[in-house]
Symmetry: C2
Subunit: 331 residues, 2 copies
């Protein structure tokens, strides 16, 4: 009794002193809050993230498909792109994406900065070009001033554009989920069923891939390891980059952080219900047919991975000028 | 000298006591800040305004075409609707729209509440139906709870949906522009050129239609009064409602508040430059060919009508459930 009291007092002192409490030794670790070192760059990145003038149409922004009101995703099987083209693959959430081993489902971009340049010039997505996007920004005095203040020069480059967007995206983490509260020692943060779900999640083998702070995002795995995954979606995964048959259907393991918000699931967005996604994963990846009660418990656990969503002021974008290249939504 | 000092002291005392200073007697009056009487309803309305699930595709929200990062407009000649259809007319700004005599360019909706129902079920815009939109909201427990708290019943109606959206839109006013500061007595708020622009704006006759707090929005006028307005846009204006030839090209006078942000101009969005819009208006409506110097001064004045943009936290939307009707972006 006395020892418990002493430990409790020590934890209290540690908390008061700002010393982190010991974290439970589990395959998933807590998400750390964002540390903003350059608020001006983050603010510029936020403006760019919300600015549809980075698209040819003037209608699509980063936030269109990575909607920060909706778990950093668009909640569609595949995204709507320029001229209403159906995107080839499900938009992954931008939340906690800085923790990914690489970006895109096939990992073809090394980091967020490299990723940010892709959709801008993808004819199926924003359908602009890096030159045009920079010309648009360069024509707007407030943007020129922001870039000059951060990068020391009024001449804007695409490298700076993607750097600022990445800086904003790095702040889009979701700490303090109920699961993280439990990881940090709060036994009351999870219900009995949720905790049983977590134990099942581990004993079934899910943590083999869904581990680390993001509960995923840190490895590439074959979709359909034990049983093949049946889909109409033509995406090849890493094989599309390497040309190696062994990499066919190898995708980056998605984060399970905020998974209750980022439906529909898998690279083709074919499954809307978390229950079905869990069933499919257990069967195809682990060769396990889970009972409905087990699935429900795991789903209850997965809901505890919803963290504090990034909240911020909606940005006010600087207006275009007479020199700004005009959007071409219908050309 | 002593009298001026006394007046100054009196104004100072009035300001300290929260008594409004006398407003200059001008055809345009200041915008009053929003008074929020039901913050829960406004917050719900904000969520709905940003929720793309009110559209068939799950991709288009009110904010898509009335983007609060961009002057409450989309800065496109006509809007992008469901399946990338080109809208029939320029999206008017939602900012200060509560001051409009009626809503839409032809005034076919009496107020914001009636307006809000239109785009949801317009097959060219959000392409949903009132029934489907309500079914979506009804399937989401957090929405049910919000509606119940405000309207006393968990059964959501389209009437409540549009009422909440209108309540949010009523807060979207832009007070304290430099022109309003001048109207309230601050002589230093406008430059000499801007003030000359305002005097020209009045002497040219612009205030005949662009008057009141919104500098417009309070009457219907024929577009092309002295000279005809040439456009490819088939919109008929009020004649489309009345069938009367005399109402052809009769449109609601748009507000000039934040006009520097709400390009391109006129019901067809055909003019991107404020200078050209002023030139066209003076010629077609007033039979006046303005000199370039006069145009530039009026444009300088118009820039002073940009007020404080509404700033607020980006809403976090409650997630869909397994019972939520799914979006159909590509059907």
């Amino acid at each position: 009794m006395r020892e418990i009291a002493l430990v409790g007092a020590a934890l209290l002192l540690a908390a008061e002193a700002g010393i982190a409490a010991p974290v439970r030794n589990e395959p998933i670790q807590p998400i750390e809050p964002a540390v903003v070192t350059d608020p001006a760059k983050v603010e510029l990145g936020k403006q760019l993230f919300f600015d549809p003038r980075l698209s040819k149409s003037g209608f699509i922004s980063c936030n269109s498909c990575h909607n920060l009101s909706m778990g950093g995703s668009d909640n569609l099987p595949t995204s709507v792109g320029h001229n209403w083209q159906a995107g080839p693959i499900n938009s992954p959430t931008v939340l906690n994406s800085s923790m990914n081993i690489a970006q895109f489902w096939d990992g073809r971009a090394a980091d967020l900065k490299e990723q940010a340049g892709g959709p801008i010039e993808n004819p199926m997505e924003m359908a602009s070009s890096h030159t045009l996007a920079v010309d648009v920004l360069q024509s707007i005095p407030q943007y020129r001033a922001s870039f000059a203040a951060i990068y020391g020069d009024e001449t804007i480059t695409i490298d700076e554009v993607t750097d600022a967007i990445a800086a904003f995206e790095e702040t889009l983490v979701t700490p303090n989920s109920r699961f993280d509260q439990w990881l940090r020692g709060d036994d009351s943060a999870l219900t009995k069923v949720e905790l049983e779900g977590y134990e099942l999640f581990k004993s079934t083998g899910c943590t083999a891939c869904h581990n680390g702070p993001a509960a995923g995002g840190n490895s590439f795995q074959k979709m359909g390891l034990v049983e093949p995954y049946v889909t109409d979606n033509p995406a090849e995964g890493v094989a599309g980059l390497t040309g190696n048959d062994i990499d066919r259907f190898k995708f980056k393991v998605p984060t399970l952080r905020n998974v209750a918000l980022t439906y529909p699931y898998f690279h083709d967005g074919a499954y809307w219900e978390l229950e079905k996604a869990v069933d499919v994963m257990a069967r195809l990846q682990l060769g396990r047919k889970l009972a409905q009660e087990e699935i429900d418990k795991i789903v209850a656990f997965l809901h505890t991975l919803t963290g504090e969503q990034p909240t911020f002021q909606m940005p006010i974008l600087p207006p275009s000028t007479n020199d700004t290249p005009r959007p071409k939504p219908f050309e």
